[in-house]
């Protein structure tokens, strides 16, 4: 069989295809009979072992996705050695073939670990492996590995055999797949059958006429009918369903006749006559065309169902109980519950629900619309929208917060949770919701946010002065409030320090020493001086902080001078007293000599937690005081009239839980009607403490942000003076803090941008924010920093106070941009200058880019970019065929996902022909869709021309070769002919008893023949010498040579030879003497050989003319002459024009060749029967002296 295949294949190409089909059909027939996996593997093995030439290993069906060997055949590995086989056969090449679907050839020649077949018959060292994809329905399903001990590649013939085997393997895989599928289907059916048999439900399978085909055990058990009794019967008749209601029976019959699914309850009778009620579910089984094949009926005994109903009732009672409980809970938790039965449009609202909405407890016809009417107009749309999304089934539950308006017109904040109950088909059943009143929460939250805003406001406006100083009074940082409080500019304080702010040196000493001792002063009262010189009373919270081994003072302060002033005015002016007294924020009250509070303002009442009408009550100040000891001391001091400026006491308000820290001052006053009194002012400092603390924290926070910002932040005043800047500013520009204080905006801007920045600054000063501006700063060391950012104006009370700038260092960014730009330019330059047509097209064949070469003076580039390939080519005058050809190639490259090369012959604008080698390189995106197409065209016109020239040369060579061939054959003929004659003569001599005379004749003949042969050899030598040897010019005497030649060849004829020479020698003659000699010999011997038959003498006339230019030689004879029709041919190789003598036909050919070589000429004139005249012209090669 193997040999047969080989023979067949060698015959013809198309027979191979026929054989392939034959083989395939043969085996496909066999495969169609296979019924099990084992049989399939056996058959495959048989085929492969027969078909595979013995030096090859066999088939591995490898599934790359599952990474397992599905089958192996004819490999020599046993099933137990499967893992070894997998390791041996599978390497990266397999995966490659699997993915690409293309076969590859692997050279294992140099691999010491190359695969060895395990088969004893095929035990060899692998040199080459061919890995071929096995395809089933165009999907690669396996690989076929053919290993050979031949180091060479596989022949086409072998490959086509493998092809057949691969195809068969593909079918095997398909078959195997089908087999596995049908096995699993059978298993599934078996499972189903098992379920049907074992289920406690009663199952009937009936044919399309309703006749029973099969019943399960449960049916037999329930009805008492056996399988045999049931088959062929209709269930209705067998089980006597006449007890079922008429409509049920009609419905059943209709469903069966129409092939519909039905679910109902039927009452049947068992064989023994017992009735039972079953829930029956009949499902038709349809074929592909929708026709009924079978009915499957599943029946459930619902006798038990009644029990279930009972249980349901019980549980629903339980449910009710639970509901009640829930109701109760809802009531107390103030959760309103409502329910809307979508199907029956019934609505229920719990009592609480009405209360939550603040409306009358009354169900309306359309509660939904009623509910809508309660919603606050601003929230209406939003709330309704979320409810509709629930109705439309988009969501199952919505949570909404909205406002409603109650009957009293009050707004209520409600939060609702609504849930939609749906059936299995997604049909809305019931909407259930809860609703609670969250007004209180909302209000609390609002309050909170209000107060938050307030605090923010306080901070923003920096009511409190915040300061950070050294212990020595050097200012580190103070806020604006601080400055405002004192009326100084920051700069003034920076240079002079803080000491001048104290009211007196003594005040300062006390304050500092106390601070040093305690580390922290709370609500310290300090007397200070305004810039104007006026005294101020400050309330200070301050602490000592240790940072970097240095002690700093941090604190906040508040001006309470007003309060103090008020106190003082109280002393002096009764009139003023009342007004200030009442309106003063500090609490002010009078205590008489008995310690009773006789009067006080509202603030005092607040602090003490009493109503404002002091004189109606009997309040004793000492009753409010918690810090009794301190109070006693102070009272003593007061008695001694050594009243301290202020003192702090803890006071317990009458209505209140917590004590208050109150700052008090006390003054002795004498008032009319009241006698000696003590006037107290009281400030509750508890809140202030807290506030201060918060302020410090947030200040810190903001400061951190400011200082650590990666942006350069700076603020300039309207005159361009630097107000402040952050650390980044210092780091970037390199100025010290001290230097910075004297800097002007334009000091840090590079000079070339001054004008531009000046304009910008003007705009900002006019209240405009400028965004995204580029500016270059110059640092202390002259370093340039490129920045980008925004500048905003800061207004205060409608007046321009300062500008704030936020800049980002973009130097590096710019450098990177520049680098990218440079790179782009580089590539562009390369593209623009590369001597090839390069263009880029998108997937729609639209030009994105064309380099100058590809424009080739056709049209401006911009005109082509954006154009479609087709349009552009037509526009530049390509024919429709050319355009379609190129578009076809474009599509090929896209489809084949690879480079496509092709040649185009084009007419240039100048009219010449051009050959372009064009290549399309497709680029694909992540989704493997065509992204870009790069087209590269190279002008290969010159190459193509060279190729043509080469072809021409080849043709010439072939001609020369042919001539050479002819020459060799002719020469061999001319040499063999004499030999043949000699051999013949020798035979004659040997075989016949010839007389001596005859023998002598034979020897003479041989001699003649050998002479001729000798002559031929001479001529060949002449010929070869002429073609081979260099031309050497030497001095020659032509006349002598002529005479010599005539003497040499005289004996050719028996007749006398008469020579007549006419000479005209004007110059010495130089030429290649050997060659000239050869020409003379040929011409003269011819003249003698071909003389006329007859008695007359041979007459030769030779004319020799030599001048400095040339030799002209004419040799004329009176011989037989040449027939006119042959004259053309006489110089041809091997041409013989005469029957007279048997020359070789080379003589004149050699003459012509020699004269060609000497740049001379030869011509002939002849008349048949009269004579011939040859004229030879040879240039005189006199050496130049």
């Amino acid at each position: 069989m193997q040999d047969h295949i080989h023979e067949k294949f060698e015959e013809r190409e198309d027979e191979r295809a026929i054989l392939e089909i034959e083989l395939l059909t043969d085996y496909l027939d066999k495969f169609s009979l296979v019924n099990s996996r084992e049989e399939l593997v056996d058959l495959s093995r048989e085929i492969f072992e027969q078909k595979l030439p013995s030096q090859y290993t066999g088939l591995y069906l490898w599934n790359e996705e599952e990474q397992r060997l599905i089958m192996m055949v004819a490999t020599g590995f046993s099933d137990e050695e499967r893992i070894e086989a997998e390791r041996t056969a599978m390497d990266r090449h397999v995966g490659q073939v699997y993915r690409s679907g293309e076969p590859i050839l692997i050279d294992d020649t140099f691999d010491p670990n190359a695969v060895w077949s395990k088969d004893s018959k095929r035990n060899f060292k692998v040199r080459t492996r061919l890995v071929m994809p096995v395809k089933s329905f165009n999907r690669t399903v396996g690989v076929f590995i053919i290993a050979s001990d031949k180091p060479n590649k596989f022949s086409t013939l072998e490959k086509s055999i493998f092809n057949v085997i691969c195809k068969i393997a593909g079918y095997i895989y398909h078959h195997l797949d089908q087999l596995e599928k049908s096995e699993s289907q059978n298993r599934k059916l078996a499972d189903l059958a098992l379920i049907a048999t074992k289920t406690s439900n009663n199952v009937i399978i009936a044919n399309r006429l309703g006749q029973i085909e099969w019943v399960n055990d449960a049916f037999i058990k329930q009805t008492g009918y056996s399988m045999e009794e049931s088959i062929g019967q209709t269930p209705g008749k067998l089980l006597n369903n006449s007890l079922s209601p008429l409509e049920t029976r009609i419905a059943l019959r209709e469903a069966i006749s129409e092939g519909k699914h039905i679910k109902t309850e039927v009452t049947n009778q068992t064989k023994s006559g017992q009735t039972y009620t079953n829930e029956i579910d009949i499902t038709p089984v349809l074929d592909d065309d929708g026709k009924v094949l079978k009915y499957i009926s599943v029946q459930k005994d619902v006798t038990e169902k009644n029990q279930f109903v009972e249980e349901l009732r019980t549980s629903s009672l339980k449910l009710k109980e639970i509901n009640n409980r829930f109701e109760t809970i809802a009531k107390f938790s103030r959760i309103g519950i409502w329910e809307w039965d979508v199907i029956e449009n019934k609505t229920f609202w719990s009592d609480i629900a009405f209360q939550v909405f603040g409306v009358k407890n009354q169900i309306h016809d359309d509660m939904f619309t009623y509910w809508q009417s309660l919603i606050h107009p601003d929230d209406f749309e939003r709330t309704l929208h979320s409810t509709y999304s629930l109705v439309e089934g988009k969501v199952n539950m919505v949570e909404a917060q909205y406002r409603s308006i109650d009957e009293a017109g009050q707004i209520r904040h409600l939060r609702g949770l609504t849930y939609m109950e749906r059936d299995d088909n997604g049909q809305n059943l019931k909407m259930i919701g809860s609703v609670v009143d969250v007004s209180n929460e909302i209000i609390a939250a609002n309050t909170l946010s209000t107060s938050e805003a307030k605090y923010r406001d306080i901070f923003n406006n920096n009511v409190a002065g915040v300061f950070r100083t050294t212990v020595e009074g050097q200012i580190l940082d103070v806020n604006k409030s601080f400055l405002k409080t004192f009326g100084y500019e920051k700069e003034e304080l920076r240079s002079t320090g803080l000491n001048k702010l104290y009211f007196s040196e003594q005040d300062r000493e006390v304050y500092i020493s106390e601070l040093k001792v305690k580390g922290r002063l709370q609500n310290y009262f300090l007397r200070t001086r305004h810039k104007s010189g006026s005294a101020m009373d400050l309330l200070i919270n301050v602490q000592l902080v240790h940072s970097d081994g240095e002690s700093l003072v941090e604190g906040t302060l508040m001006d309470i001078s007003e309060i103090r002033r008020a106190e003082r005015k109280v002393q002096s002016s009764e009139m003023l007293f009342r007004g200030i007294f009442d309106n003063n924020l500090a609490g002010v009250f009078l205590v008489n000599s008995e310690g009773k509070i006789v009067d006080g303002n509202k603030s005092a009442a607040q602090i003490l937690g009493v109503d404002g009408v002091f004189n109606e009550h009997d309040y004793h100040f000492s009753d409010f005081i918690l810090s009794r000891e301190k109070w006693d001391k102070i009272q003593n001091l007061i008695a001694e009239n050594k009243i301290p400026a202020s003192f702090r006491l803890q006071i317990m308000p009458l209505q209140g839980l917590n004590g208050l820290d109150v700052l008090l001052t006390c003054n002795q006053v004498e008032l009319e009607g009241l006698g000696n009194c003590q006037l107290f002012t009281a400030i509750d400092t508890s809140e202030a403490d807290l506030l201060n603390q918060k302020l410090i924290e947030s200040e810190k926070r903001y400061r951190d942000l400011f200082e650590n910002s990666l942006e350069i932040i700076q603020s300039f005043g309207p005159e361009g003076n630097l107000i402040f800047c952050n650390q980044k500013w210092f780091n970037t520009l390199g100025y010290t803090e001290e230097e910075s204080t004297k800097m002007n905006l334009f000091d840090i801007i590079v000079p070339e941008e001054h004008e531009h920045c000046h304009n910008l600054f003007e705009r900002v000063l006019n209240g405009e924010s400028v965004q995204n501006i580029d500016v270059t700063f110059i640092g202390k060391t002259g370093n340039r920093v490129e920045l980008n950012g925004n500048v905003v104006p800061m207004l205060k009370n409608g007046k321009m106070e300062s500008t704030h700038s936020f800049f980002r260092d973009v130097s590096i960014e710019k450098k990177q941009k520049q680098a990218i730009e440079d790179q782009r330019k580089f590539y562009e330059k390369v593209l623009e200058n590369v001597p090839a047509e390069i263009s880029i097209l998108d997937k729609d064949q639209t030009f994105l880019y064309l380099n100058p070469v590809s424009i080739a003076s056709v049209s401006p580039r911009s005109n082509s970019v954006g154009k479609r390939l087709y349009d552009r080519l037509i526009e530049i005058g390509r024919t429709k065929e050319e355009v379609e050809y190129r578009i076809g190639k474009f599509k090929d490259a896209e489809r084949l996902r690879t480079v496509v090369s092709f040649e185009e012959n084009l007419q240039t604008m100048q009219g010449s022909q051009k050959t372009i080698m064009r290549q399309f390189f497709p680029l694909f995106d992540d989704q493997c869709k065509l992204d870009l197409m790069i087209s590269v065209g190279t002008d290969v016109t010159e190459l193509e021309d060279n190729r043509r020239r080469l072809l021409d040369n080849n043709e010439e060579l072939r001609k020369v070769n042919h001539e050479l061939d002819r020459f060799v054959y002719s020469v061999s003929h001319d040499l063999r002919a004499p030999i043949a004659s000699v051999k013949g003569l020798l035979t004659l001599m040997r075989e016949n008893e010839a007389s001596d005379e005859v023998k002598k004749t034979y020897v003479d003949m041989m001699n003649t023949v050998m002479d001729r042969m000798d002559h031929v050899i001479f001529e060949i030598l002449d010929y070869s010498r002429n073609s081979r040897l260099e031309v050497v010019a030497e001095k020659m005497d032509i006349v002598n040579l002529v005479k010599g030649a005539v003497n040499t060849y005289r004996h050719f004829s028996t007749k006398p030879v008469l020579l007549e020479v006419e000479e005209n020698i004007q110059s010495e003659f130089y030429a290649d003497s050997r060659r000239i000699q050869s020409v003379l010999n040929n011409l003269i011997s011819n003249a003698i050989k071909y003389s006329l038959k007859g008695p007359q003498d041979i007459q030769l006339k030779v004319s020799v003319h030599v001048n400095s230019e040339s030799l002209k030689l004419i040799i004329s004879d009176n011989g037989e002459g040449i027939r006119e029709s042959y004259i053309e041919k006489i110089f041809d190789m091997f041409y013989r024009a005469s029957n007279t003598s048997s020359g070789s036909g080379l003589g004149l050919y050699i003459c012509r060749e020699v004269l060609k070589k000497l740049d001379g000429t030869i011509s002939v004139k002849s008349e048949e029967g009269k004579g011939t005249s040859f004229t030879v012209m040879v240039p005189n090669s006199i050496p130049v002296k």
Binding site: S972, H973, A977, G984, T987, T1008, N1139
Partner: protein
């Protein structure tokens, strides 16, 4: 196969070959002709009945003026009745396969004989 015509410009070759032919059992006479022109004249005579029709004609391929192939062509033109009635062999010492091919393909040709001829060769061919 009694009467034979031998056409060859080489007289010695002609002599040798006619001797060889005469030594074979089946040849009675050999007419040697040394040029194509003479051969045509001879066939003209055969046509006129003054010469007898040969059984076998041997023609040398390489002859001056008119070579063997041209002669065969000429004979076929002038005496088409030769075809089928006379054995016509080309004769040459040429080793050029083209000569042999041309000889075998000529309509008048019965085959190609390579020189030198020998009795054994001739007997083998004409048996």
């Amino acid at each position: 196969m009694k009467h034979i015509i031998l056409i060859d410009d080489d007289s010695i070759s002609n002599f040798v070959n006619s001797q060889l032919l005469l030594q074979t059992r089946f040849v009675e006479d050999v007419k040697s002709i040394e040029s194509a022109e003479e051969a045509i004249e001879h066939f003209e005579k055969i046509k006129q009945g003054t010469e007898g029709l040969p059984d076998l004609v041997l023609v040398d391929i390489r002859m001056p003026v008119m070579d063997g192939f041209t002669l065969a062509e000429e004979l076929l033109q002038r005496f088409p009745e030769l075809k089928g009635n006379v054995l016509f062999y080309f004769l040459s010492s040429s080793l050029d396969p083209k000569d042999e091919e041309r000889s075998n393909n000529h309509p008048l040709s019965s085959g190609f004989l390579r020189k030198p001829l020998s009795k054994a060769y001739l007997e083998q061919v004409f048996r």
